[in-house]
Amino acid sequence: MARIALSSSLAPYTDGVLELELEVANVRQLFQALGERYPELRSHLEAGIAVAIDNEIYQDALLQPIDRDSEVILITKIAGG
Amino acid sequence: MRYEAPNTLEQAIALLSGANGRARVLAGGTDLLIQMRSGRTDPELLVDIKAIPELTTLAAEVGGYRVGAAITCMELIENAAFALAWPGIVDGVKYIGSIQVKGRATMGGNLCNASPAADSVPALIAAGALVCIAGPQGRREVPIEAFVAGPGKTTLAGGELVASFLLPRRSPRSGDAYLRFTPRTEMDIAVVGAAVNLTLDNKGVCSHARVSLGAVAARALLVPEAGAALIGTRIDAAALAKLAAAASAACKPIDDKRGTKEFRIKVAGVMARRAAAIAMERAGRHS
């Protein structure tokens, strides 16, 4: 079960839940599981969220594997100028 | 839109009067072209005066100088004798736009654009210059401080144009200076401009002084009280303080995107005082 943490900017879409554990093997499964549990989060997930897996940031990396004991943090995507 | 480049004053005057107000004089063009591009003016005829010899001549006359209205700023700056006689006027000319703009811009154009912040006008006022005008009714001369009517308006009648400036003879121990305040060191429009022209007697006492301010009213101002503050003094700190106060008191500025009223009033005094110090130092060196 990977430990999932959400940045506080996503709290409004998860009724304030910011930490949970999920049985997921990659980022895509993570988004599906979160989308089912928190429908309001769904529109933000696929294109608007970056994922930090054991402190390495992955943007748009749906197939990136998530290990059993990984620590995963969801953050909003970063763009630049 | 037609373009004509006459090589005599008479032809130019005929062209201007025959266009019933729909013609504009083209000298350097560095203000006129910007106004045409932004649609603020849409002339039917441009009369280019640069081919008229009288307008591009700089000559000593009656001990003073007659400066053609269509001489470019760079030509004036590069004229060593003129810069020695009137360093303050050259200060003002040096502030106009960039080197590139000064390669085309003229004192005649700077004056006729009638911007309250024109950089060459305050020093000409302090110098006591006369504007020599030619038109259908012949020639006339006007003290420069009376030439501009208000922002964008001159006192030229139909068909008239500015032919030259007449500068009086310089008595010994005279010096003039012009300073302006702008946020940037170059490429700016004066938020405040101050010109001082003064003469010292052989004991170092100020015998003659004229002070003019730019960008603090609807047109460049001659400020008699400021000049009076210097006359009869050795231009010490007290005299300079009185000068600064008189300068600030004369301001009738507006708030605009370049500065606030309070700022212009305060800085006018500072610029006038600093310009007076430079003019005095130059007068001391000018035997």
């Binding site: - | 839109m1 037609r2 373009y3 480049a5 083209l26 350097g28 063009g29 560095t30 072209l33 910007i34 045409m36 591009r37 441009l46 280019d48 640069k50 470019t72 760079m74 736009g97 960039s98 080197i99 590139q100 703009v101 390669g103 085309r104 060191t185 170059e186 490429m187």
Partner: protein, 158 residues
């Protein structure tokens, strides 16, 4: 709309063109004579990207009518190198990385050459005040000034 006939020389070549009275020299250089090295950054004489030489005088070509070029000798960036041999300023600008995007570079090179023609040994302040009419947003001017001073040294054999 009657058009004016103008003949002039550009970079040593005789040219003739027709132009509307309102057309600027910059418009004609770029749109009629296809010399696109001179750039428009503002159209109001505030940025210097359109700098050219007219009869040896440094000017903004956006603030001069094309019709005023009659009989004049005009020099643009395209005429600054002689065949393959770059002008020392052009070489030094590349060597010193004195340009990034390059839109302001033609105007600055023309202005810098005009400076060195009248003052072969300028101080840093003299370079900076002479080039104040040429805006650059990428470099912060540091390497531009270094390149001009270095070219000046080479040109006067210092």
């Amino acid at each position: 709309m009657a058009r004016n006939h103008v003949s002039a020389t550009v970079n040593g070549d005789q040219v003739e063109f027709l132009c509307e009275t309102g057309q600027t020299l910059l418009d004609v250089l770029r749109d009629e004579l296809r010399l696109t090295g001179t750039k428009e950054g503002c159209g109001t004489g505030d940025c210097g990207a359109c700098s050219v030489m007219v009869d040896g005088r440094l000017v903004c070509s956006c603030l001069m009518l094309a019709v005023e070029a009659e009989g004049k000798a005009i020099q643009t960036i395209e005429g600054m190198s002689a065949g393959e041999a770059l002008h020392p300023l052009q070489r030094k600008f590349v060597e010193h990385a004195a340009l990034q995007c390059g839109i302001c570079t033609p105007g600055i090179l023309i202005a810098a050459r005009a400076l060195l023609a009248r003052n072969p040994d300028p101080s840093e302040a003299e370079v900076r005040f002479w080039l104040a009419g040429n805006l650059c947003r990428c470099t912060g001017y540091h390497k531009i000034v270094d390149a001009v001073l270095d070219a000046a040294r080479e040109m006067r054999g210092a």
